[in-house]
């Protein structure tokens, strides 16, 4: 592989270069709430002024993984002074169901059977939260135990049912490909789950209104779905329910569907009492109740050549889905969509096993199954590297998708812009990968206990919801007569800077400064029928919808100005110093005021649907993704062979955000995504006991990376001059999920460090999370396998 530098052509139909207002789209701008964040004045659900007569809701949870409820005695709960009432499934006027995929397998409150430890059975309504929490522990529940299936191995052994149709993707003849390959190996990787640990726990406030109206403030990534859930739980039409969210204190997928239950419980309490009702889960309850990232067991069988060219790959991807379907179907599907990562597999078959278990219903989490698929793909690469004795980077580069040939994915989509090899090569050059790899190996010879390892891994991540109908968005933009602008759209802000980017689009298009454009809370009352802010799609979808709305208003203003000042419409341009109308410059307020007097509508809605995409799960064929986002990461780590402790020494990332809408925010997404991904694969370990109780249900036992766990040297760069080939908003690329995958480089680097034990001859087959214990076990295994071990 030659040392090509990256040279991507700019798309021909790019916009003409006009001056962009300071902070307008494609420039860096501070987060729209930054000053409020640092001042404590940014409000979250629990910070909202409390309505008079507010009641508080706390759920009572199952303490059995699977059991029949023989009796539920709530007398002591109700008797506690301050308790107003207790909700059970009998108090649900509509459907006691919150399955987001319409499977009706997820009762809001348990009926006669509980399916996991932590399942809500009832909810206490009390005058204050402290009383409600105490009361929730006073229920006397008699259970009859039923067989519980807790993990993938048990589910397979028990022949557990699947929560979703299994998916098979195939191309070519994998059996023949494997059989005829000169080299072949197989193996298994176990990949752990992950708790979202959004800093703001699940919370909702419900306020009853006139004639059955219900207004909900919810920390939700999906206001429309929350609206639908509340409506059908209350048995009301959607037009009576309004859901609003200004911002979340983190989401990461954990509030895509998991916010529905708290919102429904608050709504039920408000409905029952006629008073406003608030629910804010205690951290432990939150972690016990809500779903997490799916853990996987992935079996692979791969055929390849002596040079390390992959010929055939057969993989089975089994996931612990928990007690209900939730989003497990599309999550597992996405794992399959990414089990190729950036690599072309000539003959390929992927199969999924979405297994039902008596644990929390696993759900969306940044990457949505994709990262798990990629971890497996990188293990396969690593195996081939050890089998052939080549540098894994060489195996990676030589197997990436090509253009023209070798460009078809296992789901029969053509990869039109494979740049993974170029990015890897460029990053390797920038961070001295080759030289450092030699230096690490040399250093390890003289360091008996602390071993270093290095790895460079790519990511190719498919952008679009695989549920095609989700790829639509709406926006509502108002221009007031003083020339100030209000932007609303269907996406939600959870810290990713979506609102900032939306403001920047309006700023750029109108030529307005930041203080003239205001984002408002997301509400189903302004933009209806929205999609979840998920799948990294927030800016792609809503940005185009905002642009559509802005363009409509601009069109009307241009038409008005051309008539009013008697110039051609093309001579009206919105620039930072004002609106250019022919030779004249008028201020934006001047123009909007004049337009108003001429009875021009200054408000518009916008709409967008992603073009080109389709996907048929029955045939396993289609173009589920509008485009791919790319990147590569190089990680160097140190591990302690006596304790299994690890430290990330240095990380270099080169990431493709297209023509970034906001480089500062995108770099923030990459840095944060990387650390979250590295946490998932190293220290973050979910532990259930044999009764199915999650024992890591608080930050005292579940450890996310702390400040000192970030890489000691951390270089993050955006790929320059790489506008999206597709016509996305200003040619940007989605950046929410893809950088999460860069954490894989850490797992691979730890594996490289471990490999030193057996002189780099044996693939360590390191599972995730690579906790100190997991590393020590792997080290011991390698020591035992080593031909002449005397460590």
């Amino acid at each position: 592989m030659s040392d090509v530098s990256i040279s991507l052509k700019k798309p021909e139909n790019d916009q003409p270069h006009l001056p962009v207002v300071k902070g307008g789209a494609t420039k860096s701008l501070k987060h729209e709430s930054a000053r409020m964040h640092v001042s404590g004045s940014a409000t979250y659900i629990d910070d909202l002024p409390e309505p008079q007569g507010l009641v508080h809701v706390v759920p009572g949870l199952s303490t059995k993984a699977h059991a029949r409820i023989i009796s539920l005695n709530l007398d002591a709960v109700k008797a506690l002074p301050g308790v107003i009432g207790v909700l059970t499934h009998r108090d649900v006027p509509g459907h006691n169901q919150v399955s987001p995929v319409g499977k009706d397998d997820e009762p809001l409150l348990a009926e006669d059977e509980v399916f996991y430890y932590g399942q809500p059975i009832f909810a206490v309504i009390a005058e204050n939260r402290s009383i409600a929490r105490k009361a929730a522990r006073l229920a006397e529940i008699e259970y009859e135990d039923l067989p519980a299936v807790l993990n993938i191995a048990q589910a397979r052994a028990a022949g557990s049912e699947l929560v979703w149709r299994p998916l098979e993707m195939k191309r070519g003849d994998v059996d023949k490909g494997l059989a005829e390959a000169p080299r072949r190996l197989n193996g298994r990787i176990t990949i752990g789950g992950q708790e979202h640990f959004y800093l703001e726990g699940q919370a909702a406030l419900a306020q009853p209104g006139e004639e059955g109206e219900m207004r909900i403030w919810s920390s939700t990534q999906h206001p429309t779905e929350t609206q639908h859930m509340v409506a059908h739980v209350l048995d009301r039409p959607s037009n009576l329910v309004t859901v609003e969210v200004r911002r979340m204190g983190g989401g990461f997928g954990g509030k895509e569907t998991q916010a529905n239950t708290p919102a429904c419980l608050a709504a039920l309490a408000a409905n029952l009492t006629g008073r406003a009702a608030k629910i804010r889960l205690d951290r432990d309850d939150d972690m016990l109740m809500t779903g997490k990232r799916h853990d996987f067991v992935i079996d692979y069988d791969v055929g390849f050549t002596d040079k390390g060219d992959i010929l055939a790959v057969d993989m089975t991807l089994a996931a612990r889905c928990g007690w209900s379907a939730d989003l497990s179907g599309p999550v597992i599907d996405r794992a399959l969509f990414h089990a190729d990562n950036a690599y072309f597999y000539p003959d390929v078959r992927f199969r999924s096993e979405p297994l039902k278990t008596n644990t929390q219903s696993n759900t969306a989490y940044r990457g949505f199954g994709g990262p798990q698929g990629i971890v497996a793909a990188e293990r396969v690469i690593e195996e081939i590297a050890f089998a052939t004795g080549l540098d894994p980077l060489d195996i990676r580069v030589r197997n990436t998708y090509g253009t023209g040939a070798r460009d078809i994915t296992p789901y029969h989509m053509t990869v039109e812009d494979s740049i993974a090899a170029d990015i890897m090569t460029e990053l390797a050059k920038r961070c001295d990968y080759r030289q450092r790899r030699s230096a690490v190996r040399e250093r390890n010879k003289h360091s008996p206990y602390i071993k270093r390892g290095i790895a460079l891994t790519p990511v190719k991540f498919g952008i679009s919801f695989t549920a095609t109908h989700y790829n639509q968005a709406g926006a509502l933009v108002h221009v007031y007569t003083d020339g100030s602008v209000q932007v609303n759209h269907g996406g939600t802000e959870m810290g990713q800077g979506l609102h900032t980017k939306m403001v920047q689009i309006a700023m750029r298009e109108f030529g307005l400064a930041e203080d003239r454009v205001r984002i408002t809370a997301t509400t189903t009352g302004k933009v209806p029928n929205t999609s979840a802010t998920a799948a990294s799609s927030g800016a792609d979808l809503n940005g185009m919808a905002v642009l559509d709305a802005v363009t409509k208003i601009k069109g009307r203003l241009e038409e008005f100005a051309s008539k009013h000042w008697n110039v051609n419409q093309e001579q009206v341009r919105f620039l930072p110093d004002g609106v250019h109308v022919g030779d004249k410059v008028v201020s934006f307020p001047e123009l909007t005021k004049a337009a108003y007097f001429d009875r021009v509508s200054l408000s518009a809605n916008g709409f967008y649907k992603t073009p080109k995409i389709s996907w048929n799960p029955n045939t396993g064929r289609g173009r589920p993704f509008y485009y791919f986002a790319y990147g590569a990461a190089c990680a160097e780590v140190a591990i302690d062979l006596l304790t299994g402790e690890t430290r990330i020494e240095r990380v270099d990332i080169l990431h493709d955000a297209g023509q970034s809408l906001n480089p500062a925010i995108d770099i923030g997404q990459i840095e944060g995504g990387f650390v979250q991904g590295a946490g998932w694969l190293t220290m973050e370990e979910l532990v259930w006991d044999d009764k199915g109780q999650l024992r890591t249900h608080a930050p005292s036992t579940y450890k996310i990376p702390a400040c000192s766990d970030r890489p000691r040297i951390f270089n993050v760069q955006l790929l320059k001059q790489s506008p999206n080939k597709e016509e996305t908003i200003f040619r940007s690329k989605a950046v929410g999920e893809p950088p999460f995958v860069h954490g894989v480089a850490v797992l691979q680097a730890i594996s490289d460090a471990l490999a030193s034990i057996a002189d780099y001859k044996i693939c360590p087959k390191l599972d995730a999370p690579a906790t100190p214990e997991c590393i020590l076990r792997t080290a011991e295994k390698l020591t035992a396998q080593k031909p002449d071990h005397n460590f």
């Binding site: 501070k30 640092v38 404590g40 206990y449 840095e671 220290m683 890591t696 702390a706 970030r710």
Partner: protein, 490 residues
């Protein structure tokens, strides 16, 4: 007797009485004072979203300390000046240098952890030893979790803020001192409410007497453990007796032979004194809890609760420290290892309380090493903690050995068989191998969320190897990853 506590919240004088003993500062701030900038993230002192600043006088200087409001009891604020995130802007409304730096460096994403970070950063900014050293910044921020940013921009912001030499609090220094002086000397106080009583004795005699009259009362110093009884177990505490209000228990003094640490001395205050005589104990203390936890939690409280996984006891057992207990007017001393009888059972009689810990100054030839092993380096509870104290004579024969472990048994415990395998022998590879075998007979550890029995056994033996590598091998090799120094220990 005073029936109220008093403190300043920002510029406001607050006098509060008649509240339930277990009222937390966080609930009071958010629910009573509607200061919602301070967030609840975990309600157990692990995430730092609720961090506030507590300012007190120490040696005639103002000390600015970050603490977790979720596990501070309201009565603990007596006599303090506190600031919340709402107090940080200067009188003209301009952002504090720390706030401005966080904006400039894109240090917030979702913003929920941000107020807590900002408060920890201001506390660090106000600390006399603040530097732009990244290891020191990591320690200052170890008690604040951020799930969005990956911390890099926050550390950059901290460095940027430190470039601004002064803030508006500097101008208020005298005002704050004057305010705090009006609270001195602190008189004893008793808060009564229908839910229970809090006694805040001012002297140790008073404390002894109240405890004798109320042996079922709960003694509370820093509340970093007891706080969770309230926020998680939902216990009521009908009678609390404060340790922290007793001025004389805050004594931290040193003689030629020993270090005396009063029951009211926090880990933060004791840290440098302990680190001076036992550097490796200092390194472990750096990793106990977080800055916020060490600012509240006391050394003696960490012993008193008898936890098998407290990091202090093994450090002090290996150092042959003495515990001073008091009941009424009577005091007694016992070797700290004898305090721990069984799980949940300590050698502390009814009405008796810990008055102090006394650490003897080590012999200059003592090799003292302490290794904390946890899933995460900072702010994590140890899977196990091994402490080794050894002296060899001129012939290389081990003349003194004391090995203590945490996390390996129901109590912090010495490894007697291992010690026996080493004592009187040359500290060489053969002895090491015997010791590695012996340690398997010393302990029968459990499997739990932190690690399995296998891991604990394996690593306990491996820590002997690490100790050996650090004390018996002529060539210096890297042996540790904790800390951001290039070689944490050489």
């Amino acid at each position: 007797m005073r029936d109220h506590i008093q403190f300043y919240l920002g510029d406001q004088y607050c006098q509060v009485s008649g509240f339930a003993p277990e009222t937390t500062v966080l609930d009071w701030l958010r629910e009573e004072r509607h200061r919602t900038g301070t967030k609840e993230g975990c309600n157990e002192g692990d995430c730092g979203a609720c961090t506030i600043l507590v300012v007190r006088m120490q040696d005639n200087k103002l000390e600015w300390k970050a603490v977790n409001a979720c596990i501070q009891f309201l009565w603990m604020l007596d006599g303090a000046q506190i600031f919340t995130v709402e107090d940080l802007r200067d009188p003209t409304g301009a952002l504090h240098p720390v706030q401005q730096a966080m904006v400039d460096q894109h240090g917030s994403q979702c913003g929920f952890c941000t107020p807590g970070f900002v408060m920890s950063m201001v506390a660090y900014y106000k600390s006399p030893s603040a530097s732009t050293d990244e290891a020191a910044i990591n320690d200052a921020l170890a008690g604040n979790l951020c799930r969005c940013t990956g911390y890099a921009p926050i550390v950059k912001a901290m460095k940027q803020a430190l470039a601004t030499k002064s803030d508006h609090f500097d101008q208020q220094e005298q005002t704050i001192k004057n305010r705090l002086e009006t609270f001195l000397p602190r008189s004893s106080c008793k808060i009564s409410a229908p839910a229970g009583t809090v006694s805040l004795p001012a002297t140790v005699e008073e404390l002894a007497s109240i405890y004798q009259d109320n042996p079922d009362a709960t003694l509370v110093a820093g509340a970093t453990d007891v706080g969770l009884w309230v926020t998680k177990r939902l216990n009521s505490l009908p009678h609390i007796i404060s340790i922290g209000s007793v001025e004389s228990l805050k004594a931290l003094h040193e003689t030629d032979d020993e270090l005396w640490i009063g029951a009211g001395v926090t880990y933060s205050r004791a840290h440098s004194a302990i680190a001076t005589i036992l550097p490796d104990a200092g390194e472990v203390i750096r990793r106990i809890g977080s800055t916020q936890v060490r600012n509240a939690g006391t050394v003696c409280g960490n012993i008193g609760n008898g936890s098998p996984i407290g990091d202090g006891p093994p450090l002090f057992i290996a150092a042959e420290a003495i515990l001073v207990l008091r009941k009424g007017q009577v005091t007694r001393s016992l070797p700290i290892e004898d305090y721990f009888i069984a799980y949940g059972k300590q050698d502390r009689q009814p009405e008796e309380f810990i008055e102090a810990l006394v650490i003897p100054k080590p012999d200059k030839n003592l090799l003292y090493r302490a290794y904390k092993i946890s899933k995460r380096f900072d702010q994590d509870i140890s899977a196990l903690l091994g402490v080794f104290a050894m002296t060899c004579n001129g012939d290389g024969i081990v003349t003194h050995i004391r090995i203590a472990f945490g996390g390996m048994a129901a109590t912090p415990k010495r490894a007697y068989a291992t010690e026996a395998a080493i004592l009187g022998k040359p500290w060489d590879k053969a002895t090491l191998e015997e010791a590695r075998e012996a340690i398997q007979t010393d302990f029968t550890p459990l499997s739990d969320v932190r690690s399995t029995e296998w891991y604990r056994r394996q690593v306990a033996a491996n820590l002997l190897t690490r100790f050996f590598a650090e004390t018996a091998t002529p060539t210096i090799v890297e042996t540790r990853l904790a800390g951001w120094k290039d070689k944490a220990y050489v």
